[in-house]
């Protein structure tokens, strides 16, 4: 088997059939696609719930020719369907020019093709094992379809094995004839939709000196990975950064490797997760010229100076200058085209500065010195693009 490299961070996934095929009754399509999802839920703890409206994880459409994603279908035969990996949204499209059939040696079996496409939606690439469902070629209708071991290993490497279910035996101990599923998972996703998925508004986000990105919200924190939230989070802020309260306003790591946290009129300094001296101290003492109750702060890579944001204004702080804040500050954030007021968080990531507000984020273009508002992709969903929801 082959993995594309992304997977869902939640076990409960929703799907919606936005456009049904022309040649099959809708209720029968519902049944076949439900069966196709069950192929994968049989061997993992994934569950799939069909919705008729609203936002879902996996959208399914039957389309002909060009259908808006730049990858047109080619009529009967050839390409039957395609699907997007989790990192690209997980949607599955089927060529409506095919003769989709159910339990028939004629036409193209909908259940088998759908099960294959949903494998992509879950993160599997094509397998070079001929007998695998995830092999790319359609093999014709198989009345006694069974998922190949190769597919089972592939999906379980992404989502772990199906949990042992208590069979109701005395004392809750599985009986001798109980399930034979393994009890360990290789990389289990979150138990349920992360809090960050249901409410992506955060307190602050910052880069650590070790190169990690942390998200703070209330009294808990998460570490982010390249494709979402790291396994094992959230954790309590107070357990990791001893002496630091929850509901932090802002944080950044300066070029001296020390991390500064701000809340109300006070700030704390840490080296890694160890407090670096006697804190908290007053912002007015350590950061003269910066107001209390700031929204967010970030160190701009362009000049190494610290930018503090509050409401409609921002301040530039240069520790090497006296005074560290010039009298030309504060300035209006509206001077930077596109930047919203009352920010929640900001962070530098791969050379860009990102600003977060509510459930959305914005990207600042250092070259044009403005927000990437010309790009219709912004503002984007923080939950989707940063938290892997």
């Amino acid at each position: 088997y082959a993995l594309q490299g992304s997977r869902w961070r939640v076990k409960k996934l929703t799907y919606k059939i936005s456009k049904y095929p022309r040649n099959l009754p809708q209720h029968k399509v519902d049944v076949e696609l439900n069966k196709a999802f069950k192929v994968w839920s049989e061997y993992t703890d994934l569950t799939f719930i069909q919705k008729k409206s609203g936002q879902v994880h996996i959208e399914i459409r039957f389309e002909k020719g060009e259908h808006g994603d730049g990858d047109p279908f080619d009529g009967p035969g050839g390409t039957l369907a395609h699907a997007y990996f989790p990192v690209y949204g997980g949607d599955a499209h089927f060529d409506d020019a095919e003769q989709w059939t159910i339990d028939s040696f004629r036409g193209t079996n909908l259940f088998q093709v759908a099960a294959h496409e949903f494998g992509h939606s879950l993160g599997l690439s094509h397998s070079d094992v001929k007998s695998a469902l995830m092999a790319p070629f359609y093999r014709g209708y198989e009345p006694y379809f069974q998922l190949d071991d190769d597919d089972i290993q592939g999906i379980q490497s992404l989502y772990g094995k199906k949990s042992v279910k208590n069979d109701g035996g005395s004392g809750g101990v599985p009986s001798g004839g109980g399930p034979r599923y393994g009890t360990t998972t290789t990389s289990p996703p979150s138990e349920e939709d992360s809090e960050l998925c249901t409410d992506p508004k955060i307190d602050t986000m910052f880069n650590s000196a070790e190169g990690h990105i942390y998200v703070f919200k209330g009294d808990r924190y998460w570490r982010l990975t390249a494709d979402g939230v790291a396994v094992g989070y959230p954790k309590l802020i107070s357990h990791s950064w001893k002496g630091l309260p929850g509901n932090i306003d802002a944080a950044f790591t300066y070029k001296n490797g020390k991390t500064y946290f701000f809340k109300g009129s006070k700030y704390w300094r840490y080296v890694g997760k160890r407090m670096d001296g006697d804190y908290p101290k007053e912002i007015s003492e350590g950061f003269t010229g910066i107001p209390d109750n700031i929204d967010t702060a970030t160190v701009w890579t362009g000049n190494g100076k610290i930018y503090f944001y509050k409401g409609t204004k921002f301040w530039r702080f240069d520790p090497a200058q006296k005074p560290p804040v010039k009298n030309t500050y504060p300035k209006l954030t509206s001077n930077w085209e596109g930047i919203p007021n009352n920010l929640d968080a900001s962070i530098v990531y791969r050379g860009y500065t990102y600003f977060f507000k509510g459930d959305a984020y914005y990207r600042f273009n250092d070259r044009t010195f403005s927000m990437d508002i010309a790009d219709p992709a912004f503002p984007r969903s923080t939950a989707y693009w940063w938290f892997g929801c």
Partner: protein, 82 residues
């Protein structure tokens, strides 16, 4: 008998990730070596005899209905996150 042309076969290899997409500025020319390597990779993936040539068996497999997702998914595929 083969049921797709050599041009269609090259498009197929390009579509499913075995050949770089044709570059219009270079006239869409692909070296014989690159083509042979791509054919061999496809044959290896599909479990065919690895000849590096467009033989009948290869053409036949290319004519089968299949999934539209690329077989070779590597860096640069799709849009990057964030």
């Amino acid at each position: 008998a083969p049921v797709i042309s050599q041009t269609a076969a090259m498009n197929y290899l390009s579509q499913f990730g075995y050949l770089q997409p044709m570059n219009p500025t270079s006239g869409g020319i692909i070296s014989q070596d690159a083509l042979s390597k791509a054919v061999a990779e496809f044959q290896a993936f599909a479990g065919l005899n690895i000849t590096g040539d467009f033989d009948e068996e290869t053409f036949k497999l290319m004519a089968l209905p299949r999934c539209g997702v690329k077989d070779k998914v590597g860096p640069g595929f799709g849009r990057s996150k964030r």
